[in-house]
Each structure stands twice: as structure tokens, then as C-alpha cells.
Symmetry: C3
Subunit: 663 residues, 3 copies
């Protein structure tokens, strides 16, 4: 695979560029404004398929040639899209079966975007034919810096339930299970008379009476992510062959969606992410931090690309707030602080028409004499001075375990409580670390954990025996784990691990769970901390309670009041050379922070910088020569003073500072 | 028909047993545990179709034979399912038209359960072929105690709107109406240009613009219940023929659903019920009491079977609470108190996989050393000592009138207010009697009412002239009726009885209703009690008000405030030798209880036991020899003392006591 | 076109008459009751298609002939429906493709009403064949007073997404755009790869992934209104040819729906409206006032017909309140006060069956001895004394600009905020004028505005250059405009007017909007009034804020608090000889009233009558001879005294008075 960043010597700045929406006289102004704004790279052609192939097999690349020349002449690199994200209307007319089908059997039609069945051989055939044309035509162009494969895969159509998908699903299952007996066993089809006697009896999990078979539903999630990945791979097979030195990426959207980004990232040269925090949401920066930590983790800390963000407002929420003064800069720097090597936007020039005409652009409808464009220009030029950051990395002492299979499974059908949601659990455990300025890696449950002082396992409902052993071994070898309720419950096929919940972690935790007692909607339970944690006093916990039977574990908190009064609610267990903490409920955010503080002290995990004022975030990126770049982010609306290495740094409201400490 | 209970000499204890989910080595342990737990009967094969007929016409009964032998050897009776509740995947592949269709034309697919069109000849053909095989193979087996026909008919797919159903619906209508003129008149098709000129123009009430024709909608409810009944009868026709001495049942689910259980019960040897009160719901026991009274009433007081309940939590609510300590025993006894001759569960062993893997089992995932299993074992052995209860009955002085046609109609389309709901009205009138420990029968409006001291008619929107006369005659002959608003409004075809609402009850009630004034959403109206009821003072009533014109009735309450200030809100009318009370609004629960107290005193209706503490329920079952078994249920979380026949009985929290008084 | 009202010499009184629901013996009683109640006109045959054409091509007009004779003999005029609103069941059987299709591809079926695709050639063929029969048969009948074409067009099925509609849509687009290049440009299809290479690639805006193309969605709204209009015109083409002297109408329903009533009204001899205010809604009278002002405006002040209202309750809300005593009379007179020349009802006799059996009738189920019928009879006879009102008109100094294209566009897809809704904005600006008893005309943005002292432009999101110039010219020539935010943003194709929002009004307003800052859901912002408006003090505004850059405009209010603190929130700009006020947010209802008071004083706009008590409404209708009829409406539940021309007029609760002042 191609090494990304060997061509880019600075923090990439720019965005999606859709010149086909404008007369060519506008292009000249674009070049001037891009140059003035320090634009170094644009993503070209994301939605250009219908323009370059107006009729099947008829190509018009003239305008692409011209814009390539223009960009090249202005020293702007091209991240060239494969243009396959939104098929032209003619595809649906020629092949109506390429239109996606919902679980109820209805189709999605052209007129929006992404209206294709991921398993469609016809879609893939037309798409790869175009990619081959593009690779041949522009592969040698000096401006070509990167391939942008598709766009936001699965954002609107993560799954298709049509007959073509059914055939593909059967093929995928055949590969996974070999024979029907194995599948019937894995899917527990002896329940509800679901045993399959022929592969052709199997369908996607369309609308059913009652509840879906959970293993079928889970495998369909895996399959659907794999089918989109196959679309991506069909295209990269071409680009990698024709242009082996041009790196490839595709832009993820949403930290937790239908795409198993951990699996995908192996096939990418660099991870890209589209980030759209809601300016109306006071928690937006914390949510971004989580997503950025995840993106950085997908390729083991390799710098990633902020491929899209909005210059200000978006158009697709019910109410689309603007980013107040300086917030766009602050949030751009936040991405860099979390490991991004680019600040890119959707889109260069605000569209005049189409569904996203009210999405802000780097050049607003009113043109360059606007606050938004001034902030863009200012940031673009500011970033030129920070090229030393490119390629720098950060080290984390804490890992958060996340797993797509487990997340899909726990949000599937028929569980003790709908209040157990993957991102809710992950965020509840990430937030106290974010608040405390502790950098966090996300890791797979089977990852090498040895380098971490603390591993947090928010809600690992599904776990294989091997992965469970990996976590246990880590603790046995001296590590510390914090695990929360409803972990270790089922195997890869959503079948309960027998032997007392959570069987694969029973020895590790020194306890078993006799019964789940999820709380009613909006309900809560008192808990009371004890022993080492008695300073935490009493608390009101939510979502869950359960009957814990300790087998060696020490009780750190008990339920207070109700039927479980006095029963353990949180425990600690010495296991080998390490310790395993367990939470049988969800404490309040305040107590979650206290608990993580306790764990950090116990494991000697230091924050990025100590004694930061509330609302000020710091991340440190370290170069290969050991130079530390402290990036300070003032998320508050008031000026603050931060002390770094003994020196006072003043930050205005929403201000950013970079303090470099030579190694 | 076969007489149920001639084989069973004790309260049946056990549950659904799905051994096909487990390796045969587990079966031996099952036998040991069942024996220790006092299991006397299991329901076998509910979802075994795909297992015994893996491909159409290929049968594998070996494992059923073996489990039959094993159960027989352990003296456990078999309630054998006909296995037709969930067709194997091959049926949908062979006959996609057997899949149910929703009103919008979309289909429901395999992957859940109950995915068949009730009218499908193909489904019935394959189902009855299997039933014949089962009856021939196991009809003579000594362990066979009962047939469990299908399972929870109509629970998920009470109606199908497909073309096959359309043909069946036309046949049903042809039988009902004979010719189209009669149908057009009954359906009032002169409105909205709906007159039919050909039977083939008639469809199920699929999605329409505006509102459905109410008579079409009502007839489709009747038809759909009848079609499911036809499925049931097609199977019992076989079992009754092959095994005339084996009683048949099917398990109802939900007190008020799409199945006309009053009509079905005529075709059953014993009524069965699946009871799933929500442990998170503080009103759960009152709701169960209502359902149990209904089940007992379906076959005129004949003891019924609690066919399913959960040992603790279920899996299909959004949040599934556990049954706290002793509650499962308490609620089991509540069913017995209301006339059940069994305590059966879904299911014996908690599934490892499949949609209900988190439904509690009599043997939890963690095995026998668990609270849940200990409570099961304890109860199973306790019940062995109460065989004298089997076959005993209870006598009721109060009847509550309920009618499926009326309920379907009033919850249909285009009414004065959506706040008039059958079960809301029934529960509002049942609850005060439950609270007062008065046993209640449910009866059809055309039933013989002469044995009751008080008849309550909560909301009998639809009534035939004959049924109205039956109620009037009862009062004329000396009975007492309490009738609530919006009763006697339409005939069997949802056509208004002309002549002043409620025309068929106008003479009985001594009044007519000039106008309906339903209250706004969440609205209320003051009412003020008068005369005999002046002790009830003033109250806040909800849901409904109306303009009542008395014609002989005496006013017992008036509206207070608003446009109807001073107008009658409740009345009493002397009619023949009896009295008819009428409520033109819904008083508060407190006043409903006072009103029922008043009526009980006036009609000399005594509670089961007098002076019970709040939250303590009592029911008395009487044997043929006159022995009275008082069953005392402490629904509260505190210990209470109850005096029965002068003797003090102590009950711990959630405790149960049985006090037997020889005749 | 025929002149309406030349036949009618009094305020038409009556309603929908559906004698086919009743035996003919009832008809005689109908005639007696109609005569006693002063009924002068009935609408006949609205839903009679299936009755007169029970099988395709077989007609049965006998009963229509008889009822025509009966009505004629009783001197009751007939408004004859073309009977095409609800096709008979045989049409769907013969031509299933006539059934409407929803965006998800599902169909709507017979069993309700209006189940036809508006573009269906088959529907139109059968419909016009029937209309021709009717026109030939009854065109010369002396009782025929008017044609009632269809019924409530588009009420339930305003749009159809089927393949037949797709073909028609392409034809409509071809006519509008000529060639695909023009369409692709207008629809901005270069975004999201939507460029069309063939007309057959275009579909209705069915379900899509992500958001619809806004121009496609907007054109489909125009097309759908036009297709229904084409149905209407296909019928009037016949009636106008056969009976050139019989006026035609069709009844609109809802002030703002999918039908462009401003466009339709050109093709009608008289505007008709179905008015169903909710008796449970305390704001009902204000909403009616708005709708009635609109109806009067559709044909430039020509009196209109109140074609339907309920005698009391309707049947189709979730809870259907009755009209309290005297309210039906009050609300009937309100329609007359706003220019209606009729008081008509749905329907004469309450149906016994069918979906609207609980809709109140002029003759209730209980017959004539009822409050409802007495009020009907009283009003019918009262109106006989007010024939002088027929044909009188009213003059307005204030115009409210409304535009269907703009309304459809702003409620379409992907905007800064879903809180910008046409009727919300219109009502917010109409209400203060209603409260102040100022009569208001609704006008198109391109209308002649010269006669108005004040023009209010609530939210004119979409505006053509020409229409924008029309409004600017009005101000330049001395007029006064109040314009609210998000006006002048896009052109006829939903493409942003470039050049700084709102480009077409920038010169007029003396400002440009740099950024939209819509408020969060339920959010608000402080504003503080200044200068001339400083008496209004501070206020809490909702829905919207924005960054206003003045270019000559004077600031009248500023935002207070938040990121926009101190920035302009409202402005005034001298432009030519006139003034343009601008609101960049939505002030509270109280301040909206103060602001309109200020504007009325500044433009010398007088109320209908001065010094009316709160809740008392007055409207003045003036005859050709200058006679002024002041209609006084007491919307309150208490008696009031009103002074008119120095004389005191007493009105009881909910009372009405007409005071005539000779010219």
C-alpha cells in the first residue's frame, strides 16, 4: 500500500470542490481565493458520475482535465474521488434492481444520493469501469495526491434487503459456515422452528412477525458492512494496480454506524473522517473528542485526515445552528490535537441549488467579504506555520475496548433492556477521561493490551473465548481493567455463554451475576460506595441493576434501597498481578469521574497537562525527534490562563495555542 | 368433547419443554430436575415443525419418540403441541403466498414466528398433514394428556390483507349476507360511493385515503378471528377424530386481543391462558385479576389452565424487570385463586440462543443453584399438597358484560372520542370490585343474567335489539344494572340505532342522550353527586360528558361548571322490579369505588371475605362437597394479619395462605 | 363564465343532501323540515357515483330525477355535484392502476374515498363520461343553480407517485422546460450526480436515501396541484359547454394545503370553502378569520360560499367537541362578516352508517326536537331577513402577501430551520390585525399593491425577480412594507439568489443578511426595541435570529444577550417615497401586536370599528349603493355593549348583531 503523507509536507487544508456546479468563469476566482486562503488540497468529483458519463459508456472528461490543469497550475493537490457515490439516473432506469430495498420490501429511488444496492453486480460493474477510466486518465497527473474512494459508505443505505442481496448473503454465509448444520447451530434455529434445509430458504432479516433471529440479524450486519467493503475493495483493486504509489482513503461518517471501521481501516492507507458536531449541542466537543480518538486508533495512532467539516452551519438538521466566532478554528484545532493532519471542509463554494444549498461553504453565497470566509482564510494561513505537526503522534496509557460485533449484537433484538446502547456506554466511560485530559486509545478486545496502564471495557456484551482470555491475561500479567455490566454475556453467534454470567470473565472478576434487574424507563437506584471508595459517598445510578454473587471479589459499592438493598453494585478483584474492577450499574457522571480519578491514581496515569482550568483541553503530539507539541484548546467563552512547563499561556475565549517543547 | 382433568389429579405443574434445543445428555438432567421440582406435565413441540419435517414430507420423529419415553418413565404427562405455530422456512420458499400481508401491501417474512396467512389453504394443508402424523404416532401413548393446538393464535399476525385472504373474506361475507344488496345495506355503502356491484370488488380493509368503512372493518375483525378459528378447528377435527378421549386446548394471550375468545372457548375442552404481568407495573396484579376472571368465565366457571407465565423476567419488553423474591409464587397462586388448575411456565430451560434467550426459564442459564430455580422447586412441591383445589369453582354475584363485536367496533374508526376504549372501560369498572374483593364473572350481553345480583355494563357501544332486550328484561325482573356512557349506540353493522341514543336502552334507563360532548385530550369536568349519593360529594370526571334528557330517571349526579353545569351526569331508573343506574361520564377511581360500594350494599353483594387489609386479596374456591378453600394473597411488601372465620392468619410480605373450611 | 348569485336573491342556506342513504318515505319529511328551516339550496350527489352507475356504463338516474322534482316543488335550488369525488369499487377492479400510490410504492385502496390517481386517463375518462350524462340530463332543469365539481380536491390524495403519474410528470416538465439542459440547470442536478440524460429517467419524488432534490420536489407540488386542476377543468369543460349559464365551483378545504387555490380560483365562478374549526380550540375563531380572508381574496373580494360547516361536532378528530349553544350561529355569521354569501353544512341528515355516522347533521339522529336542529331552523329563518347583504363587499387597507410556490418550497427539504412554516408565519402576522379588527386582503406577490396603505410580507422565501421588483416598486412609490426574515432567498427553482441575502430585496431593505442563526428547538433570544419603537421595551423572540448588515437601514431593535448581542434584529429603511420595515426574528405575540399598531398609526390604517371590547369582532360589508352593514360578533362568553355610530348595541354571550348605516 502507498504511504500517505509522503507527498504532503504541511497540514492539508482545503475541501470538497465541485466546480461542475459553476460556470468556468467562476473557476478563476476560485483559484485566486484558494491561493489566498492557503488551500493545498481539494477533493474533486465526489458527485460527478452523471457529469462525466451522461449516458452509459459515453464519457466527458474535458472539464475534469481543465480543472486538473488549473489546480495543478495553482499548486493545489487533488484528492480525486472515484465518483461512484451516487449513480446517475440512467443506472436505475437500465437496472431497476440496483435500487436499494428496505426491510418492508419498498425501494429507495433516485433523487437523493447513494441509491444503490451494495451487493449489486451491475452497480459494481459500472462503478469499476468508471474507476478504471479515471485511473488511466489521471493516474500520472502530478496533481493527483490521493484517491477518495466512494463517499461516506453506508451513510444512508447501510443495508439492502432485496433478492440480489439475499443471494449475496447466502454466498457470504456459505463461506462463513460451510454447511447448513453449522449455520443452524450457530443461529440457534431449533427455536421458533427456523431450521434451514436449503440455502435458498435464507433471506435478509426483512420485516417479520415478533422478533428477528438475533444471530441472523447480527450476521446480516456483518455481511452488510462486508458488502460495502467489497465495493470499496473492487475500486481500490484498480487504483492500487494502476497507481500503486497513490494512497487511497474513504471518508467515514459517524463514530458508530453500520460500517465496521476497525475492519475497513486495514485496507486504507489513511483514515478519513467527516465531522459534523452540532453547534447547538453544548456537549459537541466531548463527542468529537471521542470520535477523533477512535479515528486515530483505527490505524494504531497513525495521523488521520479530517476530510469534511462544515465552515459553519449544515443543512440537514431540523435546526441548523451557526458556529459562533472562532469556534470553527477551535474545533479544527481539536481535530489536529487528536491526531488529524488535515483540515478539510465540505465544501469550497456554497451551492446555489440542490439539497445542500444551505450547507455553509468556505466561500459563502455572499462571497469572500464574510466572517466565514475570513475565518477560513485566517486558519488556512495560520496552519502553514505548523507543518512540524505533520506525522507527529501521541501516546496513551489508557485503552477503551470497543467492538463492532458486540455493538451490533447488543443493539439488536430482545434484550433485558433497551437502555444498554453501545455509544451511550462508551461515552459514559470516555467522558471522565476527556474531562480529565487523559488521552485514550480505542482497541479491539483481542488487541495487545500490554502497553496500557488501564483498560476500560464499557459494555462488551459479545465476546469470544479468545478475546475474553486476552483481557484476562492482561490483568493476570499486572494490568488493571474497569469492566461494566452486561459484558461477556454471549458468543460470536449471540448465544449465551453458559456457566453463570459473565462466564468468560467470571474468574477474572471473582464474581457471577445471578440475575439481571434492569431499571424501568427513567428509573434509578441508590448506591453507596464503600471501603477504598467510601469518599464517593452515595449516588443515584441509572439504567441497570443486577444480582452479583462475589467469589473472591471485594465489594466497593452496594445498592441502597429497593429489593437489592445491601447487595454488591461495584467490586474489585485481585487477579494474578492485576486488578479487575466491575460496575453492576451506571453511576452518575460525577461519580464516574471520581471513579476514573481513583483508577488513574491507582494506575499512575497522568493527564496530558496537569491543573488545567475546567473546559480547557490539552493534547500533546510528539515528533519522531521527541519534540512535544502541546495543543491547548479553550472550549469556554471566557479568557483563561494556562501554565505549561512553568510558563503562563493566555487564551482568549475559544482560543487555541500551540506550545512546543523541544525534546 | 373430551373432559379435561379426568387424567390429572393434582394442580398441573410444569411448562413448555423444548428439548430439541439441547444435546440429549442434558435431557437426563432435565428429568432429574423436573422430578425434584414436582413437574407433572410439560408442553412439548410448540416450535418443532422444522425439526420433525425438515423438508416437505420428510419426517424425523426419532427424538420425539425418545423424549416421550423419557417423560413417560418419569411420570410426566405430555401436553403435545401440534407444532404448527411457526412454519418451517421451506413453506415460504415453496409458497411465498402463505406469507402474511400488512394493510400497506408489504409482507412479513420468516425469521420470527407465526408468519402465515390464516386463510392460506396451503398452510392449512401442510399443517393438518403434520397433525395427522402426530395424532397417529402419539395418540395411543400413555403420556399424552392433552393436545396443545397451535400456539398463541393471532398474537403477531391476527389479520392478513393478501389476495388469498380477500377471496376467503368474500366467501365469508357471502355466507353472512347471501346477496350484495344485503351487504350494501349492512355496510351503509351508499355513503362515499362504496356500493358493490360484484363480490370480487370487495377487499380486506387495506390502506385507504380517509377513514375505513366501519362495517367493513368490523366484519374483517370477525372474519379474521373466524379464519384463525378455522385453522384451529381444522386441527382439532383430526385430533378429536383420532384421539377422542384426549382433551384439546390452545393458549390465549392477552385478555382483549383480536381473537374472540368467547366464541373460541366453545370449541375447547379447557381454556388456557398465557399470563405475562409486568413486574415494573405496580398495577400488574389488578390487570391479571381481570384477565383471570375472564378466562374463568369463558367456559362458565370451569377451571382453566395457566399455560404460560415467566419464572421471572421476559425478554420482549423495552425494559424487562425481574420478579422479586416470592412474587412468582404469589402471582401463581393468584391464578389458582381465580380458578386456574395449573401453574405452567414458558419455558423449562432458558434458551442459549434465539430471540428469547433472555426470557427467564425454570432452569436459568446458571442452572439449579439459583433463586429462580429454588422458588420453582419450592412451589412445585408446595402445590402437591393442594390437590383438593382441582376442579373447585367459585360463585359470583356480579357480572361484567363484555362483547368482542362491540369492542372491535368501538375501537374502530371515526368516533366521538378515541378515549372510549374497551379495556379502559372494563378495567375502570372491574377495579373497584377487585379492590373490594368481590368476585366477578364476565358474560356476553345475551347471557342468562338471572343468577346475578348486579350486572355491570361498562361500554356496550354495539348491541343487537335482542341482547338489549335481554339486559332490560333482567332489570325488569328485579335485577340491577350499572351502565356507562356510549352504550347501545349501534347495531351489529355499526349503524346507529335511531330514535334517540341509546334507543335500545332508552326505556330501561328512563332517559335519552341528546348530544355527546367528549372531553378534550386530558380534559376533565366537575361533577357533583346528589340525593342517595350526596355523600360522594364532588369529583373530577374525565373522558366524556353528554347532554342527558331524563324521562323518568332520577338524577344522582350533575355536571358542575362548564357548558353543561347543572345537567345530569348520573341517573337511576326504576324499571319493572329492578333498577338501572347510568353514568354519563367517567368518575375518578375513588368515586367509582364508592359508587360500586353503594351498589353492592343496595344489592346485598358480599365480598369474598370481609375486612381485609388494603392490598390483600382473597378468593374462595368451593368443592362439590361444599368445602370452601379461602386463598389469601398478600400483594403488599409488608406482613399482614387476616382474620378468617375468627382465626388470625399471618402472612409475610408477598405471602400466600390457603384456609380450608369444611362444609 | 357564468355569473354567480344572479339566481340567488338571499343568503343561501342549506347543505349537503344525501337522500340515497334513506328510504324515500323519509324524503317527504326532509322537504317539510327543509322548508321550515328556510333551506334554499342543497348540494346533491357528492358521493352518488356508485349509485347512479352501479356497473360501468349502466346508469340509474331515477331516484335523482325524483329528488330533483321534489326539491323543485319545494323551491329548493340544487347545487349539483358531478359525483366524481369517490369512484365506485368497480373502477379499481377494472383498472387497479387508478389507485393512488404513496412515495414508498404502496397503494391506497377503495373503502374510504378519493382513491384515484389524479393523472389517471382512465379515471378522467369515466368521470367525464358521467359528467356529460349529468349535464345533458339536468342541464335544463329549473332547480339546477350551480355545479359542484368533484369535492374537496386533494384533501386525502393530493399527490400520486405511480408510474402513470411519472409519465404525466414528464409531460408537464417537458412543457415547462422544453429541453433537459434547461431542466438540469433549473433543478441544479450537477449536485449529487443527478443530471438527466433522458426524460424517462425522471420520476416523482418517491422515497429516496438522504434528501430530495428541492426543485424536483417543488415542481412535483406544482404538477400535482395542476393535475387535480386538470381533473376539475376536464369536468368544467363539459358543464361550461352544455350549461354555459350555470355557474361552477368546487369546495376548498383548509386554508393552506396542497392545492394552489389562488391559481384554481381563476377557473371558478365562485369560491367555496369547507370550514371546520375545532370547538375544543380556543383560537378557532382567529384561524377561521384568516381562512375566510383568504377565500374572499381568491377572487378579488367577490363574495364566496361557505359550502360546508358542521352543525355541531365532526367525527374525524381524535376527540370531537360539540359546538356549545349559539356558537354555530356565531361562527356562521363570522363567515358572512368575512364575505360569505351562504351558510351551508355537511350534511342535512346525520348518517345512520358509514364513516361519518357521528358527524353532526342539520337533522340529528334524534330528529327535529333537538337543540341542534332548533338552532339550524332559527338561523335559517333569521338569515331570510338579511338578503341585503348578498353581493356586498369590504375594502381593505392592508394586504398580506402569500404565495403557494414559496410555501411549498419553504416547507420542503433541507432548510436552516424547520421552524419556518408558511401558516405559522402568516398567522403570526394576521393575528395582530384580526385582534385589532383590521380587515386584511391576501395577495400574490405580483399583485397590484397600489391600493394598500400597508403590505405585510410574512415569509416570502421564494420570489421571482419580477415579483420582488413589484414589491420594491410599491414601496418606492410611497407604500409601506413589513417584511419578515427568510424572505427573498431563492428563485422559482429553489436556487439561492446570489449577491447577499435577500438579494432581490437588498436595496429595498437597505441591508443584507450575512448569516442565518436559527434558534434551537424551543429556544429563544432576547431583543430590545429602540428609537421610535423604544416604548416596546424588551422582548423574548423565537424561532430565528440572523446577522444583519445594514446598508442605510435604521435599527429599530437589537438582539440582547448571546453571540449576537447588540446586533440589529429589526430595521426600517426609507426607500423612494415609502418605508420598508424588516424583522430578523419572531417577536412575541404581544410585541407583534404593538408593532402592527405602530405601523397602522404610521400608515393611517383604521380598524373596522374603533374601541371594541376584547373578543368582539366587527366587519363591515358595503353595498353598491354605499350602505354599510356592520356585523358585530361577540366571541366571548359574557354580554358586552358596543357603541356603533354613537348608539349602544347590546350583545349577549356569543351573540351577533347587524347594524346597517345608510350611505
Amino acid at each position: 500500500m502507498a504511504r500517505f503523507n509522503e507527498r504532503l509536507s504541511r497540514i492539508a487544508f482545503g475541501g470538497d470542490y465541485n466546480p461542475e456546479q459553476w460556470d468556468e468563469e467562476v473557476w478563476a476566482e476560485d483559484m485566486r481565493l484558494m491561493t489566498e486562503a492557503g488551500v493545498s488540497m481539494v477533493s474533486l468529483g465526489i458527485f460527478s458520475w452523471a457529469k462525466v458519463e451522461p449516458r452509459p459508456g459515453e464519457y466527458d472528461f474535458g472539464w475534469v482535465d481543465r480543472i486538473f490543469e488549473l489546480l495543478s497550475a495553482n499548486d493545489i493537490a487533488v484528492c480525486l474521488a472515484t465518483m461512484t457515490a451516487s449513480p446517475p439516473p440512467w443506472l436505475a432506469r437500465l437496472h431497476p434492481e440496483t435500487l436499494p430495498m428496505l426491510p418492508d420490501g419498498s425501494r429507495l429511488w433516485p433523487g437523493g444520493r447513494q441509491h444503490y444496492c451494495p451487493s449489486s453486480p451491475e452497480y459494481r460493474r459500472y462503478a469499476t469501469r468508471l474507476v478504471a477510466k479515471l485511473a488511466e486518465r489521471y493516474g500520472d497527473h502530478p496533481a493527483l495526491a490521493m484517491w477518495h474512494i466512494g463517499n461516506e459508505y453506508g451513510c444512508h443505505v447501510p443495508e439492502c434487503f432485496c433478492d440480489v442481496s439475499a443471494v449475496a448473503f447466502r454466498g457470504w454465509l456459505r463461506e462463513r459456515y460451510g454447511d447448513l448444520d453449522t449455520l443452524n447451530d450457530a443461529w440457534s434455529t431449533s427455536f421458533w422452528s427456523q431450521a434451514y434445509g436449503d440455502w435458498d430458504e435464507i433471506f435478509p432479516p426483512r420485516s417479520v412477525p415478533a422478533f428477528h433471529n438475533p444471530a441472523q440479524r447480527l450476521d446480516f450486519s456483518r455481511f452488510s458492512s462486508d458488502e460495502l467493503l467489497a465495493c470499496y475493495l473492487a475500486e481500490t483493486e484498480i487504483t492500487n494496480r494502476v497507481t500503486p504509489n497513490v494512497p487511497v482513503t474513504t471518508n467515514f461518517v459517524g463514530a458508530w454506524r453500520r460500517i465496521n471501521t476497525m475492519k475497513w481501516a486495514r485496507h486504507m492507507d489513511v483514515v478519513s473522517y467527516d465531522s459534523y458536531p452540532d453547534p447547538h449541542d453544548p456537549e459537541a466537543a466531548a463527542d468529537s473528542a471521542l470520535a477523533y480518538d477512535l479515528m486515530r486508533s483505527l490505524r494504531d495512532g497513525q495521523p488521520w485526515l479530517l476530510m469534511e467539516q462544515a465552515p459553519s452551519a449544515v443543512n440537514w438538521r431540523e435546526r441548523n445552528g451557526a458556529k459562533p466566532r472562532d469556534v470553527m478554528r477551535l474545533w479544527s484545532w481539536q481535530a489536529i490535537a487528536h491526531g488529524a493532519d488535515s483540515v478539510l471542509y465540505f465544501q469550497w463554494r456554497a451551492s446555489r441549488g440542490g439539497a445542500e444549498r444551505f450547507h455553509s461553504g468556505m466561500v459563502p453565497h455572499a462571497g469572500e467579504n464574510t466572517r466565514i470566509h475570513r475565518e477560513i482564510r485566517q486558519l488556512g494561513n495560520e496552519l502553514k506555520g505548523h507543518s512540524a505537526l505533520v506525522g507527529t503522534r501521541q501516546t496513551c496509557d489508557v485503552a477503551l475496548v470497543i467492538d463492532w460485533d458486540s455493538g451490533w449484537a447488543v443493539e439488536g433484538t430482545s434484550h433485558p433492556s433497551d437502555d444498554v446502547r453501545l455509544m451511550d456506554a462508551v461515552a459514559a466511560h470516555h467522558r471522565p477521561l476527556y474531562d480529565a485530559n487523559v488521552a485514550v486509545d480505542f482497541v479491539r478486545p483481542g488487541a495487545d493490551l500490554s502497553k496500557y496502564k488501564l483498560v476500560v471495557v464499557p459494555n462488551l456484551y459479545l465476546v469470544s473465548e479468545a478475546d475474553a482470555r486476552n483481557i484476562s491475561d492482561y490483568v493476570h500479567g499486572g494490568g488493571t481493567v474497569l469492566m461494566s455490566f452486561f459484558s461477556g454475556i454471549v458468543d460470536e453467534y449471540d448465544r449465551v455463554h453458559l456457566g453463570g454470567y459473565p462466564a468468560p470473565f467470571r474468574e477474572l472478576l471473582g464474581l457471577w451475576i445471578e440475575e439481571f434487574w434492569p431499571l424501568p424507563r427513567g428509573g434509578s437506584t441508590g448506591i453507596s460506595f464503600d471501603g477504598d471508595l467510601s469518599a464517593l459517598g452515595s449516588d443515584t445510578a441509572t439504567r441497570w441493576s443486577e444480582v452479583i454473587r462475589t467469589e473472591g471479589a471485594e465489594t466497593l459499592a452496594t445498592f441502597a434501597g429497593g429489593d437489592l438493598d445491601g447487595e454488591p453494585a461495584a467490586t474489585r478483584h485481585r487477579f494474578g498481578d492485576g486488578e479487575a474492577y466491575y460496575l453492576g450499574t451506571r453511576p452518575s457522571p460525577e461519580r464516574m469521574r471520581s471513579l476514573l480519578d481513583h483508577l488513574r491514581q491507582r494506575t499512575a496515569v497522568a493527564p496530558t497537562l496537569a491543573d488545567l482550568p475546567d473546559g480547557v483541553q490539552a493534547r500533546t503530539r510528539v515528533g519522531e525527534d521527541g519534540t512535544a507539541h502541546h495543543i491547548l484548546l479553550n472550549h469556554t467563552a471566557r479568557p483563561v490562563t494556562v501554565t505549561v512547563d512553568g510558563a503562563a499561556v493566555e487564551l482568549a475565549a475559544h482560543d487555541v495555542a500551540v506550545v512546543t517543547a523541544k525534546a
